[in-house]
């Protein structure tokens, strides 16, 4: 164990102040925190809550329905990040649609989808663009590449989201946030700094054991000072100005829009859609996709889990009806979902 971790452990485990609620809003943070067993070290008066930071988990049910519509009614080849394939839509998931003849292929990056379209001019390729500020630039690059190559058989179905509006909506759910390191690597720190004027505190954290432990220790020390704070604990990757080139790219290809977050409902100006100049690459316009309202399973409490209002273990379906092999909601499907993390690592919590 490094000295950094030893010191951080000391600070965390000796905390005896008032109840401190810390919300981590990055799916990878949820996963890493569980994998490292950091929850096992926290004293009683620190509550680590999972927030809506998993892009798959906040993708609304209707989005899956739209993708299935494109596959089955329009004969499109759906290319997507792997974990979207098992997410349940209103009737079935993309995996389920495969057995009805849908052509659904996992890709590692949107560029793979462009290559597929280029090599198969007879295929109508649609890439499911989900993700936050970290992933959106790659979807924009894919669209620009398709444009450059003159492809008429490539488009994206967008559900990209941005964090700032979500933070404001969640302001009351926690005393401090663990901000997603790679979102800020692209977007910079200005939004998080401004949030302090609304009384929202937080720290940008990296992903290694050292970085996560340090970030938590910093939150504890800063919270003792009694006023809103922001600290960049991931300076080796996150610069205050973020990544200007990526920001310009996204700005030129997409614009903000109102969008639905599973569980949180419609949040103004929290999504990204393609600008009108790129209409040919917008799957909804290209294939005249009708307005599809998804219907989530009424017993599923993913929405409340995503807001940090309920722990996965509080959901009546958790572990009984809903598990990684038969997921009811998105939080169980995605590797980064809070429910999946609790399911896989939950039995670890009482090991010490």
């Amino acid at each position: 164990m490094s000295d950094v971790i030893k010191n951080a452990r000391e600070i965390i485990q000796s905390y005896d102040g008032p109840k401190l609620r810390i919300m981590e809003v990055c799916g990878t943070h949820t996963h890493e925190i569980f994998k490292m067993g950091i929850r096992n070290l926290l004293p009683e008066n620190i509550d680590l809550i999972s927030g809506p930071g998993c892009p798959v988990c906040v993708t609304p049910v209707g989005f899956i329905d739209e993708a299935i519509y494109l596959a089955l009614e329009k004969g499109c080849v759906i290319t997507t990040f792997g974990d979207l394939i098992k997410v349940p839509g209103t009737k079935s998931s993309l995996a389920g649609a495969r057995s009805e003849g849908a052509d659904v292929r996992p890709v590692y990056s949107p560029d793979d989808a462009v290559e597929l379209a280029k090599e198969n001019p007879d295929m109508q390729v649609v890439f499911l663009a989900v993700g936050f500020e970290t992933t959106t630039p790659s979807a924009c690059l894919a669209v620009k590449k398709a444009q450059r190559l003159g492809l008429s058989n490539f488009s994206i179905l967008t559900a990209n989201k941005t964090m700032p509006s979500a933070y404001k909506k969640l302001a009351g759910s926690a005393d401090a946030f663990l901000f997603p390191g790679h979102v800020n690597a692209i977007a910079g720190n200005s939004v998080c700094k401004e949030l302090t004027s609304l009384g929202v505190s937080g720290v940008v954290a990296g992903f290694t054991a050292n970085e996560l432990m340090t970030a938590l220790a910093v939150i504890i020390e800063e919270s003792k000072k009694g006023k809103p704070f922001f600290v960049n604990c991931y300076p080796r990757v996150v610069k205050d100005e973020g990544n200007p080139a990526a920001q310009k790219l996204v700005e030129s290809v997409m614009e903000s829009c109102d969008t639905e977050w599973r569980g949180l409902g419609m949040i103004e100006k929290s999504g990204m859609k393609l600008r009108d100049e790129y209409a040919d690459f917008d799957a909804r316009k290209k294939y005249s996709v009708p307005d599809i309202q998804g219907k989530p399973n009424p017993a599923c409490r993913c929405g409340e889990v995503l807001q940090g209002n309920c722990k996965p273990t509080d959901c009546p379906l958790f572990g009984k009806v809903c598990d990684p092999i038969h997921p009811v909601g998105a939080c169980m499907v995605s590797d980064e979902g809070a429910c999946a993390a609790y399911y896989h690592y939950g039995p670890s919590i009482n090991l010490n």
Binding site: M36, I38, N352
Partner: protein, 346 residues
């Protein structure tokens, strides 16, 4: 001999004969492989003339395995080599000396004869390395699209060594857990060969026959509780199986698990856990702590197990669970993956 397999090759007539002679008999020629309907084996003679340093009992271990790996050839081997290693290793894991194998092939119409020749050559080479005889076989040809290129099933048996008794249910608290080399290479190799992710890396399958390695270990000590071949599901799956079957806990020293840099890199990029990638030439061994060093030394002296090392131990606490100590000094359970990560790796 034409350059592609046709339905005529499977119909039992002149072409079948031609195929058997020009490929199978050429590579597998041995006194037990005859043109008769079945092989005739003198088991008493087999035991009497055994070249092993260990005594054989009259008990026999028998196993069968089907192989449908796609692609059928990959860095480090092909489906032929795999088909021998798989059955040889399963028999050897019971504390037995693999002796005789049979092989049934179903080949797709249009399959290149040159590739069939390569596959048969690999089988012969691996059988020789393992010291086993292919004594009976069958070849069928299926129409185009009825089978994916080539499917092979091997069955084999061998006599069990005296004084050896292993089972998944025999792990005891205090036992050390040993792996015979770096993990996850076969699964990683197949993943990259399928080119689904367009990643290039210098990784080869770990596919190898391990019966001689097991014999060397048993010559050093017979006090071994579990020997398991880690294949589909990888080492991680074996650990959970044994923890369950023996109703014991496992304390895993994650840092000590040998993983090749290439495999680490690919896993890092794709979010995969190397412990759950398939191996095809790696054993997981549970033995009393007093025997562990002896076992590691014996394995290190053999090809294909030079990287043998201890990766953990069996505990009484946390039965059924595989526990790992993390970088922050906390204990967590090794998470279990669900669903089909990689179909058809063997």
């Amino acid at each position: 001999m034409e350059d592609k397999i046709t339905l005529a090759h499977g119909s039992g007539g002149v072409q079948t004969n031609e195929l058997i002679n020009s490929i199978f008999k050429k590579h597998f020629d041995n006194p037990y492989l005859t043109a008769d309907d079945a092989a005739v084996l003198d088991i008493e003679k087999t035991v009497k003339e055994s070249d092993s340093n260990l005594k054989l009992t009259n008990k026999v271990s028998m196993s069968t395995d089907g192989f449908i790996v796609s692609p059928f050839e990959f860095p480090g081997g092909n489906i032929g080599k795999l088909s021998i290693c798989g059955t040889v290793n399963d028999i050897a894991c019971m504390g037995a000396k693999p002796e005789y194998l049979t092989c049934a092939m179903v080949i797709e119409e249009g399959f290149p004869v040159s590739k069939l020749d390569e596959i048969a050559a690999a089988m012969a080479k691996t059988a020789k390395e393992a010291g086993v005889y292919l004594v009976a076989g069958d070849t069928k040809v299926a129409g185009k699209g009825q089978v994916d290129q080539i499917f092979i099933t091997t069955t084999g048996f061998g006599h069990i060594f005296e004084g050896v008794s292993t089972s998944g249910a025999f792990a005891k608290p205090g036992d050390k857990i040993i792996v015979t080399g770096d993990i996850g290479r076969h699964g990683c190799t197949i993943l990259l060969e399928r080119n689904d992710f367009k990643i290039d890396a210098d990784i080869t399958s770990d596919c190898a026959p391990l019966n001689k390695n097991i014999e060397a270990m048993l010559e050093a000590t017979k006090d071994v509780h579990v020997i398991r071949d880690a294949t589909r599901g990888g080492v991680g799956t074996v650990l959970y199986e044994i923890a369950g079957e023996s109703n014991v806990g496992i304390s895993l020293n994650y840092e000590s698990i040998p993983v090749n840099d290439g495999v680490k890199g690919v896993c890092g990029m794709l979010g995969l856990e190397p412990l759950y990638l398939a191996c095809e030439g790696r054993l997981v061994i549970f033995a009393p702590a007093s025997e562990a060093e002896k076992i590691v030394e014996a394995l290190k002296s053999q090809p294909n197990s030079e990287g043998a090392c201890i990766i953990g131990e069996v505990t009484e606490e946390n039965p059924g669970k595989v526990v790992v100590e993390t970088a922050v000094g906390a204990k967590t359970m090794l998470s279990r993956p669900s669903g089909e990560l990689l179909p058809r790796i063997c």
